[in-house]
Amino acid sequence: MAIFVLLALVPPVAHAFDNAFLITMFNRAVIYAVAAVGLDLIIGFGGMVSFGHAAFFGIGAYTAGILGTHAFDGSDFIFGWTGSNDAFVVWPLAMLVAAFFGLIIGLISLRTSGVYFIMITLAFAQLFYFFFVSLSQYGGADGLSLWDRNVIPGLDLYDRDTFYYLCFAILLAVWFLLSRLVGSRFGRVVIGCKQNERRMRALGYDPLLYKLTAFCISAAIGGLAGALIANHSEFVSPGLLHWSRSGELMVIVILGGLGTLVGPIYGALALFLMEESLVSFTEHWQVILGPVLILVVVFFRGGIVGFLSGAGKTTVKSGGDHG
């Protein structure tokens, strides 16, 4: 759990070095970690390789962005409601909207498996990407500025430390709840479906129901992370839903260690630290990052967590495409 201690120490260390930017940077990593931990639930435990998770991230971000815009200029959003800036309204709503679309996408996508599942989730994410690109009343491809951060009574979300610790607390909560979830009966059924769906069915469980629930939970967490990133960068754009963003989220999960829940947190930190340091080294940093990813996939199968625990964790082939 050293990672949590490290994360908790970021603000004081940053202040000690008089470099507040570090907090901003780590904050971004923490928010991506929230989404990636949620993604690990379905990829690592459920064997559902979603290549379209950025859709939920973006949907959450746009929920915050759109509600914030209406709250800012007092214009009508829907049925006379002028949006909201209240975090207790916006964030749950971001989760709810993401979960709702998760339900629809999941219902259709879970009819397929293996490669087909990967590709259909990608297709759905593309669909939402183009939807937001052409949503001209909310900025279209140019994106949407969030004029005010969301409000929580008694907290100043513009304060860097406050916002950082809030996101950190959310990450802790998400990690804790999901850790409990995968240990519960529900979690064991989901894992069971990954290993042998037929057996779970024979035991009287409906695999689709369990997988769909896990998918929706993961989508909701993605939506929450989206609302947080909207507050963090005070800006949302269709770029959040680009397919390479889905790829990045998967990279974070694998880099950290699949099916560990704590791994994605390491993964997010590692990816962002790597990006920041490579960028300062060369503008062609992707030419280094690419091979690094390949090396990790080929040689460090358990990701950072597997490396730390001393043994490469083997992943089971989850594709059902020969079924």
């Binding site: 490290l6 070095f17 570090l22 901003t24 491809a141 140019d142 994106g143």
Partner: protein
């Protein structure tokens, strides 16, 4: 045991990384003027930012690493055409690298993510390309200067030109995104004839066969299109291959005919008229010196993006020299910028009330370059001292 040691090593490495990031700022010197340049260097549009940076750096190297007598510390970062990355870089430049001013953004959507925030926080920002209307009108800001153009200008100039040439039925195409819609709106502000059709295509589309077939069937007497970068290359090539090049004249903004783009399109682009605020064959001393110097340094032809980078650097130089290199005199620096006391390669150049340029616009034609490749040749002037459409909404 082994695992524990590895863990300690990893944590150590992370701490070290944090440390080096942090140490980077404490070692800053007070002397040189720090300029933070956020621009697009990667993706297919990376050459735009690359050209702009080259222009900017040329101006610095012409003055032996100085602008306005002060040493320049230019920090360049790639935004990868991602607004939120640009936002993050901007935050870092302000808080960690403590830059004195910022510049460089190419794309309007990236600018919209960065500029309103940084200028609100008191940073001076000088645009080298993007000029979204949202920053030119009611939301104009004393800290924001645009050394390039207001987005609509170049399309407005083409609208005027097409109108002047007596075309009566024009077919319009643009990508389905805000800049595309603004482009066609700008064109229509000065073109008053009939519109054969107005077509919006998917952003990043590569194949235009279907659009071209519909276009031919509509029998317009001219076509105006706004397809920057790769989309433009595809469209112009396919238009020529469909045999339409000599039948229906094609008009576009300079973004679809910059020096790299016409080289990439080749023969298919020859004869295409496009509007710009500059042309490589412009007859003024500053421009001639610039083109020669650019070629000598980089072995390549400058594009309008290079021009904007070069002019922005010289503009900044003029203001630095006015405050004697003391960047703490912010009000004086702003006032000096506003005077635009430098010799622009574009000839006429001054700032309007909204800190956007008042400049001339020209029509150019793509021709084969006698030295190889393709280039643009000046055809005539469309606007003199053109003021953008939003200046009156700005209360400055």
């Amino acid at each position: 045991m082994l695992a524990k040691r590895k863990k300690a090593a990893l944590l150590g490495a992370a701490a070290l990384l944090m440390g080096t990031c942090a140490a980077g700022i404490s070692a800053q010197a007070a002397e040189p003027v720090k300029i933070g340049m956020i621009t697009t260097l990667s993706t297919g549009a990376g050459y735009l930012g690359d050209d702009m940076r080259k222009g900017f750096e040329l101006a610095i190297s012409e003055h032996d690493g100085k602008l306005g007598g002060a040493d320049i510390d230019l920090i360049v970062e790639d935004d990868g055409l991602k607004p939120e990355s640009a936002r993050q870089i901007a935050t870092r430049m302000m808080e960690s690298e403590h830059v004195d001013l910022m510049t460089g953004i190419i794309f309007s959507n990236v600018a919209m993510a960065v500029v309103p925030k940084v200028v609100r926080d008191g940073m001076i920002y000088i645009s080298t390309n993007a000029g979204p209307s949202a920053l030119a009108g009611a939301k104009c800001n004393a800290n924001y200067f645009n050394a390039a153009y207001q987005n609509d200008n170049i399309h407005e100039a083409m609208g005027q030109y097409v109108q002047d040439q007596g075309f009566k039925k024009v077919y319009l195409l643009a990508p389905n995104y805000p800049a595309g819609k603004d482009a066609l709106a700008g064109f229509k502000r000065y073109y008053k004839g009939d519109i054969a059709d107005e077509v919006y295509t998917k952003l990043g589309q590569t194949d235009y066969a279907a659009e071209i077939a519909s276009l031919r069937a509509a029998k317009p007497d001219a076509v105006f299109f706004f397809y920057p970068g790769g989309m433009g290359i595809n469209f112009i090539k396919q238009y020529a291959q469909a045999g339409l090049k000599d039948e229906i004249p094609l008009f576009g903004p300079a973004f679809s005919a910059d020096e790299h783009l016409v080289d990439a399109v080749g023969e298919a682009a020859v004869g295409m008229k496009n509007t710009s605020h500059w042309s490589p064959d412009m007859d003024n001393a500053a421009s001639k010196k610039f083109v020669a110097g650019y070629f000598a340094k980089y072995g390549a032809k400058p594009s309008l993006y290079s021009v904007q980078g070069y002019d922005a650097a010289n503009l900044i130089g003029s203001a630095i020299s006015a405050v004697g290199g003391d960047m703490s005199k912010k009000d004086d620096f702003r006032a000096a910028l506003k005077k635009a006391d430098f010799s622009s390669v574009r000839g006429n150049f001054k700032f309007g009330n909204n800190n956007h340029p008042i400049q001339d616009f020209y029509v150019r034609e793509v021709v084969a370059d006698p030295d190889g490749g393709y280039t643009n040749k000046l055809v005539g002037k469309v606007f003199s001292n053109h003021v953008d459409a939003y200046a009156s909404e700005c209360k400055m």
